[in-house]
Amino acid sequence: MTERANGIPNIYKHKNEVEDYVIEVKNLKKYYPVSSGLFAKVKANVKAVDDVSFNIKRGTTMGLVGESGCGKTTIGKTILKLTDKTEGKIFFEGIDIHELNRKELRKIRPKIQIIFQDPYSSLSPRMPVGEIIGEAVRDNKLISADKYDDYISQIMLDCGLQVYHKERYPHEFSGGQRQRICIARALALNPDFIVCDEPVSALDVSIQAQIINLLKELQDKYNLTYLFISHDLSVVEYISDTVGVMYLGNLVEYSDKETIFSNPLHPYTKALFSAIPVSDPEIKTERIILEGSIPSPANPPSGCKFHTRCNYCMDICKVEIPEMVEVENGHMTACHLYHKKQT
């Protein structure tokens, strides 16, 4: 492991004595303005991420679950400062990364990495694999020139690639191997935190398991912290320590894995869990089928955004936005059903 990115001014540092959080997201908002007309007047905002807070402890994995368009990918990109936030704060090891200037940001970049869903578009097609993996290592001068070759070879072996693959181009690889290259590229920079944005969704079932195992192995070996974004609940359950469920830019439920899977609270979480097909023709579960489709994030419903599809919808849901409350120890949810219980 190389030293921490140094030279970051102390003023951005945010001390947290209680827990060793790698990532702290506080009231993060990301709005995309919808402009129309010739002179780009902002008509409305697409609230891709609307007031989301969570923390991730070092060496753990947080699963972020939700359907398409719920803003889970946007959170991932905002944490990496690949897009700018609208409001809120993101701390990486106590440093607010959105406050850093260009130079400081470049220094801290290798520490936070991302693995994308599509292993085909996430590799530059005109570069040999060795270069893809090692380019940034050299550019950021993370390793001395004489050790460079061995280092890259070691990383490739760690990710289940062969050393001779260095000379190859991405198009020669299957999806699974491409995803290994993506992981190797991220790992080569010796990161502390990796955002895994649906890393296995595009892969075949038999390959998915390989990649999930690889991610787990690497986590143990390098004490990595993951934000695992997926729509696949079974994968999230397997890999995560804590799970957040998102719906239309809001975090609706957040807890550790065991609690949330044994006792889901939010009606959306319940429906989501029951929608997973079971690989047994004999078991015919009574399924909660949600009516309708996801509303447009540009024009979300008033009050609780889920009320249009909720089976337990009350009058208050249509008016008031539910706040995140802690129902049991560490189990948070944003639903009026549980507000009542509390009060």
Binding site: I207, Q208, Q210, K216, H231, E237, L290, S293, I294
Partner: protein, 393 residues
């Protein structure tokens, strides 16, 4: 020695990987020769009906695919996408075809529809017997113009991508009307519209009158897939081929569509051929399951047999490598090593041998035969050769 070996590998691999210009020319020449021959047979005019009329082996079956070989004559060689696939689609039942990408499941469905891209893709061998009540045709040999009448009428298809399957410039109603009109010549405009709205109602579109006037972009993915299903059902087909109908949809929408399909299955008397990589979807929908690997059927049987008693190491591995909700909490997830082979120049031994955790000496021999462990349950694996022999004895 080890280091040396490694270096040699490196060198050798590099040389092997790319085809030389000479080889490319040879392959192209051979491909042209073969495809030209097939095209010649295909392009013939006035093919007599006798040539493609056949008889069913079992009259309960709607379709019998036997020893189907669909090859693609590509620049890198012959890709045997489907090589020797045999399965039946019984009347009114749902057959699920499951397999990973490149296993040939989509090519099988395209072969049935005769939509394989020619001249590269050709049905080289085999029969696709289809029962049209009055007559039984072999779809593998049927001439194009005849096939055109069958497509959409007797067999219809639901595609994976509902976004691109609808024409964006026409209203939903018009597109469904068109299909109905094609099937029912001389039907009045009023009646067609009523039938369309009826169909839209049937697939669970609440505001069917409104949707009738909408354009595809005004609908969500789930709604579009419902429209696609309505279109597929509107001509009352004998067989519906659903190619990954839920893969592009969100989990909650997938549940809706699956619920819909399951309900429809009981209402209509069509057979459904469901193609998917998701074992969960298969388990919920299918009566019979066909597991494909690298262009071959490695296991088939009733859903119960496959899911409760998977025999082929691949099927077992596939099921084990899916993390189950409430299942394995810690430890390593089971995974099949390696990746799906590219079906070019396949050797004559079990294709799964190299990834198999139970491979034996016998596996190096010829490709394992189809072994029936029960009347319906077939597996292609040497492990079960003995049990079959016992049964026969």
């Amino acid at each position: 020695m080890k280091v040396l070996g490694k270096e040699d590998t490196n060198q050798e691999k590099k040389n092997v990987n790319y085809l030389t210009a000479k080889e490319v020319r040879r392959i192209s020449r051979e491909n042209r020769k073969t495809t030209d021959e097939f095209e010649k047979t295909r392009e013939r005019k006035n093919v007599s009906v006798d040539e493609y009329t056949t008889i069913m082996k079992n009259n309960d079956n709607l379709m019998e695919v036997e020893n189907l070989h669909t090859y693609f004559f590509t620049d890198i060689g012959i890709v045997k996408s489907v090589s020797g696939v045999t399965f039946d689609v019984p009347k009114g039942k749902t057959v699920g075809i499951v397999g990973e990408s490149g296993c040939g499941k989509s090519v099988t469905s395209l072969s049935i529809m005769q939509l394989v891209q020619r001249p590269q893709g050709q049905i080289v061998e085999g029969q696709i017997r289809f029962d049209f009540d009055e007559y039984i045709y072999d779809l593998a040999k049927i001439p194009n113009e005849k096939m055109q009448q069958i497509r959409g009428n007797e067999i219809s298809m639901i595609f994976q991508e509902p976004m691109t399957s609808l024409n964006p410039v026409f209203r939903i109603g018009l597109q469904v009307d068109e299909v109905i009109e094609l099937h029912n010549h001389g039907m009045s405009k009023e009646k067609i519209k009523n039938r369309t709205i009826e169909m839209l109602d049937m697939v669970g579109i609440a505001n069917s009158e409104g949707v009738y006037k909408m354009f595809p972009h005004e609908l969500s993915g789930g709604m579009r897939q419902r429209v696609m299903i309505a279109m597929a059902l509107s001509c009352d087909p004998k067989l519906i081929i659903a190619d990954e109908p839920t893969t592009a949809l969100d989990v909650t929408i997938q549940a809706q569509i699956m619920d819909l399909l399951r309900n429809l299955k009981n209402k209509i008397n069509s057979s459904i051929m469901l193609i998917t990589h998701d074992l969960g979807v298969i388990a919920e929908m299918a009566d019979f399951v066909v597991v494909m690997y690298a262009g071959k059927v490695i296991e088939k049987g009733t859903a119960k047999e496959i899911f409760h008693n998977p025999l082929h190491p691949y099927t077992v591995g596939l099921m084990a490598s899916r993390p189950k909700i409430g299942g394995l909490k810690a430890g390593k997830l089971y995974s099949i090593p390696g990746s799906v082979p590219n079906p070019v120049d396949m050797p004559d031994y079990c294709y799964f041998k190299d990834r198999c955790n139970r491979s034996m000496k016998k596996c190096n021999g010829a490709y394992p035969p189809e072994i029936y462990v029960s009347d319906t349950h077939m597996v292609a694996c040497y492990h079960y050769l003995d049990s079959e022999e016992e049964k026969h004895d």
